[in-house]
């Protein structure tokens, strides 16, 4: 093309500088606008990153953690959680008594406990709710939480069909009697922390569908009737769930927040960006790669709370390579857990040398595993595989994720370097991985277990021989006996002693390799007050409040 005349070049230059000027003045003029978190703090609305879209908000149907957080704002149990210790405190029941043998609990419901539509909360609401969750046709995935109740298991499995035989009875409108199979010392913790024990408003449930089938529409915002500190006002799938203060709540005067907006941000990176952009007071997670940066530059935002969970590897004890206990022990002793939490996970996790996280309801396993390379080599040689020679190939199986892969690779290297054992890696998409694991079609498989309630039983009972969560092919009659006996022992010391013996068997036999105890790593705005770190990551929202930063 021909050269442009000089005046045209000049015009373009002028235009360019004009454009630049506009941009700069826009930048300067805009300044830093007030962020959403600041606006929300003034209005006492907590903006909460909740990770996933809830399956539903029916406490008898759902099974997830994100669902729990939301439902805990809408419903309350007879027993509630202390915001600091999570110990049982009066909820909808103002007091309760336990019979001397520990098998019958009587709850006295508050006279001012009301549903959000103004109806009084009655003992009958609980009787009907418990019948509902235990009715097989509802297909509740978490109904087993109620199994300490007399005949609950038999009724849930369809072995008895008369609901009158369930250990639950309304003595009068405000008195509820709960009869157990066995004295269950963690009952109140379980009732306080788990939504399966909370009641639903049956007239509402009956109005919007079959109360004993899935797919009921009572949980829509326009239909929802709850009895918690907040009511559901809006639910836009994959976008936002809004709850606002419930004026009919018995303790409404002490609820400081006006509401919570739950944002189900699936992508952990998007969630972190939203936090930085001032759209969230709290994230559900933090990408692993960002932990160090926050630790260095913004430690006041970073939270790393101990969490009631264990990251471990299942060992298929029926596999030729792992049949011999000595091989399993050798593999265990050759893992440097401290190195894994220091260099791979980096989120303040603690190396796990037992299955039950230490200090669970005051229980810490006496038996502790150890990192012992010399011992490991000796054990492997004794088993007939000196320096790993002759050992059938070992495959580490995990569900597809960067973090699981990094851990598997580290352990693979440790086994190679420390024992001469060759391991390969296999990753599978979540549901395929679940299928492989439950059919014990693996050699070594990554797993995690989060306690349902703060008691060692929630961990140890998973390895009962007949348990669906065992998935290792391992079983021990003595272990089963101890766990079952502990389940029916009311005295805490005696019960813990039985569980200690059981855990000792588990850690001697090693159908699993504990790796680390979980932590919850997340970001929390300093505006959030009355927020206490705890083992279950439960933060009863009725106590939480926001303090806007001073201008």
């Amino acid at each position: 093309m021909a050269n442009r005349p000089a005046y045209q070049v000049l015009k373009m230059k002028l235009l360019n500088s004009l454009l630049m000027l506009t941009v700069i003045s826009l930048l300067a003029g805009c300044g830093q606008r007030e962020t959403r978190v600041e606006v929300a703090a003034r209005e006492q609305i907590l903006l909460y990153g909740n990770k996933t879209e809830p399956q539903d908000l029916d406490p008898h149907v759902v099974e997830g953690v994100g669902e729990h957080t939301i439902i805990a704002t809408l419903l309350e149990g007879l027993v509630a959680e202390d915001p600091k210790t999570l110990d049982p405190v009066p909820g909808l029941a103002e007091r309760w008594e336990m019979s001397p043998d520990g098998k019958v609990y009587t709850f006295h419901i508050r006279s001012n406990a009301k549903w959000s539509n103004g109806d009084p909360v009655t003992a009958d609401d609980f009787v009907k709710s418990y019948r509902r969750i235990l009715t097989p046709s509802l297909g509740s995935k978490y109904s087993y939480m109620l199994y300490p109740m007399k005949n609950a298991k038999a009724f849930n499995e369809g072995k008895i069909t008369d609901p009158a035989q369930l250990g639950i009875r309304a003595v009068d409108a405000r008195t509820l009697e709960l009869t157990l199979e066995c004295p269950t010392s963690y009952l109140l913790n379980s009732m306080a922390s788990h939504y399966t024990w909370w009641a639903v408003h049956m007239p509402t449930v009956e109005k919007y569908g079959d109360p004993y089938k899935p797919g009921n529409k009572w949980t829509r915002p326009e239909n929802y009737v709850g009895n918690g500190p907040f009511i559901l006002t809006e639910w836009v799938p994959n976008s936002v769930i809004r709850v606002r203060k419930n004026t009919n709540y018995w303790d409404a005067a002490n609820v400081r927040l006006n509401g919570v907006d739950f944002l189900p941000i699936e992508s952990v990176d998007s969630e972190e960006r939203s936090f930085r952009a001032g759209q969230l007071h709290r994230t559900e997670e933090l990408p692993n790669g960002k932990i160090d940066a926050y630790r260095k530059d913004n430690p006041q935002l970073l939270r790393m709370d101990d969490y009631l969970g264990n990251y471990f590897y299942r060992l298929n004890v029926t596999h030729p390579a792992l049949k011999d206990k000595r091989v399993r022990r050798a593999l265990n002793q050759a893992i440097d857990r401290q190195a894994i939490v220091d260099t791979v996970t980096r989120g303040g996790q603690k190396p796990a040398f037992a299955f039950t996280p230490p200090g669970t309801a005051g229980y810490t396993s006496r038996t502790q595993l150890k990192f012992d390379l010399e011992g490991a080599k000796k054990l492997l040689a004794e088993a007939g595989y000196p320096d790993g020679k002759g050992l059938p190939p070992i495959e580490i199986h995990y569900n597809t994720s960067e973090n699981h892969r990094a851990i598997a690779e580290t352990i693979q290297q440790m086994w190679k370097k420390n024992l001469g054992v060759d391991a390969t890696l296999r990753n599978e998409e979540w549901k395929v991985y679940m299928d492989t694991q439950s059919s014990t079609n693996y050699v070594v498989s990554r797993a995690g277990w989060i306690g349902d309630y703060p008691d060692p039983n929630t961990f140890l009972e998973t390895f009962l021989s007949a348990g669906g969560n065992n998935r290792t092919g391992w079983g021990s009659a003595e272990y089963d006996r101890l766990i079952n006996q502990a389940a029916c022992t009311n005295d805490k010391q005696q019960r813990f002693e039985l569980l200690q013996q059981a855990e000792a068997i588990l850690l001697d036999e090693l159908p699993l390799l504990p790796i680390y105890y979980y932590t919850r790593v997340y970001l929390l705005s300093p505006m959030v007050k009355n927020w206490h770190p705890n083992y279950q990551d439960h933060h009863p929202f009725k106590y939480v409040y926001l303090e806007a930063p001073a201008k």
Partner: protein
């Protein structure tokens, strides 16, 4: 024309049937089911759930029930989201995808055609090179890079807009730009090619000789033919924008259909998977038909 449209509509029936059937059986052979989870489910409960969703019946019977429902436009209940049907899910989320896709496509056409025409008017000039260069960048920059970059600049540094969400009007800007840019780049290249070819033809020279203004030549004579490649690209582009917005929806936390499409497979939510696939198939068939009609209208060489 009418016969053409009717014939095309009739052709869609076997297409949809094959899509519906294949998806149904592919979902059934996938390992892992909707009720597999970290916590084992008691066999009795699993049986109840399977009975409720009809998974306990023989596959052939399930297939017939599924086809029967489909004929009535009922896509079935979601196994993951217990209180919602697939129809409701699509009704709630598709308008969002449509809005995002529509705006992105509009932006793509506006930017792409303008850049393409300018480039074609001054081929091999610095203007042409910069337009081509920028569009090449647009094609090469994947949305999962461009999206976070834009968020970093405009949400985190300048604080002009939010980093995620779909609430305010300003929440629409970044996702639209991110999604639109990649398509704008293609449109620009196609427009440039089409226009260059047309501008060298005799009838343009005739128009110039008659003294028609440059604006009139472009708008009256050249664009109609020059945009033909763009028109034929519109069908796949519209389908791609609507079905492929998963990444954008995830980056910007947008409640669209794309996310359900992808997550339903992770959840093994069979009716959700088959429902969305059939719905998308219908959509693609529709867009292709529209594009065919547009092509006939734009191209005097094609006549019925």
């Amino acid at each position: 024309m009418f016969r053409f449209i009717v014939a095309r509509l009739l052709q869609t029936i076997p297409v949809l049937f094959v899509v519906a059937t294949l998806t149904f059986f592919m979902v059934r052979v996938m390992p892992g089911g909707p009720f597999d989870s970290e916590r084992a489910l008691a066999p009795e409960i699993k049986h109840e759930l399977e009975a409720y969703y009809g998974f306990d019946k023989p596959v052939a019977q399930q297939y017939l029930i599924y086809l029967g429902r489909l004929l009535h436009g009922d896509l079935g209940p979601s196994t993951k989201f217990a209180n919602r049907s697939v129809n409701e899910m699509i009704a709630a989320t598709f308008p969002v995808s449509l809005q995002l896709g529509g705006m992105a496509l509009g932006l793509a056409l506006l930017l792409g055609i303008t850049a393409g025409v300018i480039a074609a008017l001054r081929p091999n000039s610095s203007l042409d090179y910069s337009a081509s260069g920028i569009s090449m960048m647009g094609i090469c920059l994947p949305t999962f890079v461009l999206g976070p970059l834009l968020v970093f600049a405009f949400a985190l540094k300048l604080r002009w807009v939010n980093a995620s969400g779909w609430f305010d009007a300003t929440d629409r800007i970044l996702p639209t730009v991110t999604l639109g840019i990649a398509y704008a780049a293609y449109v620009a290249r196609l427009t440039r090619g089409g226009m260059l070819e047309i501008l060298s033809q005799d009838f343009i020279r005739t128009a110039r000789a008659k003294g028609a203004s440059e604006v009139r030549i472009i708008s009256r004579h050249a664009l109609r033919g020059g945009l033909l490649p763009v028109i034929s690209y519109l069908g796949p582009a519209a389908a791609g924008i609507l079905t492929g917005s998963f990444v954008i929806e995830t980056i910007f936390q947008i409640p669209g259909l794309g996310r359900h499409f992808v997550t339903s497979t992770f959840n093994r939510d069979s009716s959700m998977i088959t429902g969305i696939v059939v719905f998308y198939a219908l959509l693609i068939v529709f867009f292709n038909l529209v594009v065919d009609i547009l092509q006939i209208w734009f191209n005097p060489k094609l006549k019925f």
